[in-house]
Symmetry: C2
Subunit: 288 residues, 2 copies
C-alpha cells in the first residue's frame, strides 16, 4: 500500500511568492544536515494572494494530520500579510525574510519595502544581456565547433568526451555570465606531446576537466553500449593521456567525479581567478 | 577619487564552505528589500578552514573600519567552528544554518550532522544523470535543429527569433531536469493559419514565448544593426502574428519582457503542469 507509506513521511513545503528556487535551494541545504530523515516535498511558487495562502495552510495541516508528523515549511515570502497566514499553520515555518529583515532594518537604519518587488524583476538590463550573450557564446563554442572568437573567451574548458565540459560551460554562462568555450581532446590530440594547435595560443585560458575512468565508462556506456568508446580500457587510456597533458603544460584542472556542476563551475572561477558576477541568476536578485 | 568613494559603500560578504551560490541568492533577495542602499559585494566560496576564516574576519573588519559602516555577512556555513569565528567579526552575520538548525533539530528530534556533508555531494546519481541527459536533449533540439525525438520531449517552446527560447530551455534542463526542445516561428510559418507541420502533432506540448516589440527590436539590433530583422515594424509584425498563432491554437504562453529566465521557467512548469524536480541544481542539495 504505497499510499499509506507515503502519508507517513514528513512533508516539507517550499513556498514563495516568486519562483521558490531560493526556498528549495536553502531547504535542501538544511535538510542535507539530517541525512537519515525521509520526507516528501511539495513546491508552491507564485503564492501571491491571501486566498491562495489559506488553501496552502489547509494543505499543510492536512499533511501533518495524516502523517502525524509536524510538517516543515521553508519559505521566502516577501509579503507580510501572506507570511502571517502561513505562520498560523501547524508547521515549523522557517523563513529567512521573517528572521533576517528586522536585523537588516536595524543595521541599515531603514525600513524594508517588504514586498515582492515587482519593479525590480529585471533589475539590471545590461547584466541580463551579458548573461544571454554568454549563453549564446557558449553554445556557438560548444565542443570545439568553432574557435574563431577564442580571443573573446573568458575560459576554454578542455577534456575528453563526456567529462562534463558542456554543462559546465552553460552553467558558467547562466550563473556567472562568463564566456566559456569548450574543446574536446581527441585521440589525435593525445598522440602529440604538444597542445592541440587550435588552443595552443590560448594556453593561459585553458582549464582541464578529468574524471574517474569507471564513471566515464558508465556514462559512455549509456551513449554507446558495448563500444570501444565506452570500454574501461579506452576510458582509462584517455583519462591518463588527458591528465598527462594537463600536467605537462601546467593547465589547471579538477576531477569532476564527485562534484556537482555548481561546484565544478565555482572551483573553475576560483582557480582561474575569473570575475564572478556576484549578482545571482539573471536576477535572482529579487526572485525568491 | 573612485577609491575613496568605493570605501564609503557598505560591504556585503557572501560566505560559504561550499559554492556560496545559496548565500548569494538569498543575500540578493534580502537586499532587494532595501532598494535605496548602495553596497559593494564580495563572495568567498570554499571557506573551509579556521585559518581562512580568521583572514576573512580581518578583511570584514577592515572593510567596516574603512567605510565606517557595519558590514553585512550572509553566510551558509555548515561547519560550526568556522561559523563561530565569523560570528566574532564586527559584521551583522545572517546565517540560516545558525538560525534554523536548532529549530529543525527540535522538530525532527535529531541532531544535525552540522558539517559540510562531503559524502553527499552527488547524492542522487540518477537525478544527476537525468539532468545531464536533459541538457544534451535541449542542445540537440535547440532552434528546431532536429525534431526527431519530439515524442520524448517534455515541452516544446515556440516563439520568434530572440524571444528567449534557448536560455529558457537550458534552464529548464539544468534546474528542473526537463527535456525541453525549442522551435523558432519563421516568417513562412506566419503566413499560414495552421500550425507549422513539424510541431502540429505535438500541440499539447507547445508553449509560447512572446515579448515586447521594443525590447525585441533592441535585442535584435545588437545582433544585426540597422537590419529589417531588427526594425520596429518587423518586430511588431512578428510578435503580432506569433500571439495570434498562440491564441488561435490555444497554446499557453507568457510575455517574457519583464521576467527573468528563472521566472519564465517556473511559470512554464506551473502552467504546463510539468513535474518539477524538487531536488535543486544537480545537487544544490548540499552545496551551500
Amino acid at each position: 500500500m504505497p499510499d499509506l507509506a507515503s502519508t507517513q513521511l514528513r512533508s516539507i513545503f517550499f513556498l514563495s511568492n516568486r519562483t521558490a528556487i531560493t526556498a528549495e535551494t536553502l531547504g535542501h541545504s538544511l535538510l542535507a544536515q539530517f541525512p537519515d530523515i525521509e520526507f516528501t516535498t511539495v513546491t508552491i511558487p507564485f503564492l501571491d494572494t491571501e486566498k491562495k495562502a489559506q488553501k496552502v495552510v489547509d494543505k499543510i495541516n492536512k499533511a501533518g494530520a495524516q502523517s502525524q508528523l509536524k510538517p516543515i515549511v521553508i519559505s521566502t515570502m516577501a509579503n507580510e500579510a501572506i507570511s502571517k497566514i502561513i505562520l498560523q499553520s501547524d508547521a515549523l515555518v522557517l523563513d529567512p525574510f521573517d528572521r533576517f529583515l528586522p536585523d537588516l532594518e536595524e543595521t541599515l537604519n531603514q525600513h524594508s519595502i517588504h514586498e515582492s518587488g515587482q519593479s525590480h524583476r529585471i533589475s539590471n538590463e545590461s547584466l541580463y544581456e551579458s548573461r544571454i550573450n554568454a549563453i549564446d557564446f557558449s553554445l556557438i563554442h560548444d565542443d570545439g565547433m568553432t574557435t574563431k572568437m577564442y580571443d573573446q573567451t573568458d575560459i576554454i574548458i578542455i577534456g575528453v568526451s563526456r567529462s562534463g565540459k558542456t554543462p559546465t560551460c552553460l552553467y558558467l554562462a547562466l550563473q556567472f555570465g562568463l564566456k566559456a568555450a569548450n574543446y574536446p581532446i581527441t585521440e589525435e590530440d593525445m598522440e602529440s606531446e604538444h597542445l592541440p594547435k587550435t588552443i595552443r595560443k590560448y594556453q593561459n585560458r585553458l582549464f582541464g576537466l578529468t574524471t574517474d575512468p569507471y564513471r566515464l565508462a558508465h556514462i559512455r556506456e549509456e551513449r554507446r553500449p558495448n563500444s570501444r568508446y565506452a570500454s574501461m580500457e579506452q576510458c582509462r587510456f584517455e583519462i591518463n593521456r588527458a591528465e598527462e597533458m594537463f600536467y605537462q603544460h601546467r593547465i589547471p584542472y579538477v576531477n569532476t567525479s564527485k562534484m556537482s556542476i555548481e561546484e565544478i563551475a565555482t572551483k573553475i572561477v576560483e582557480i582561474a581567478g575569473l570575475h564572478r558576477i556576484s549578482k545571482p541568476p539573471i536576477n535572482h536578485i529579487d526572485v525568491p
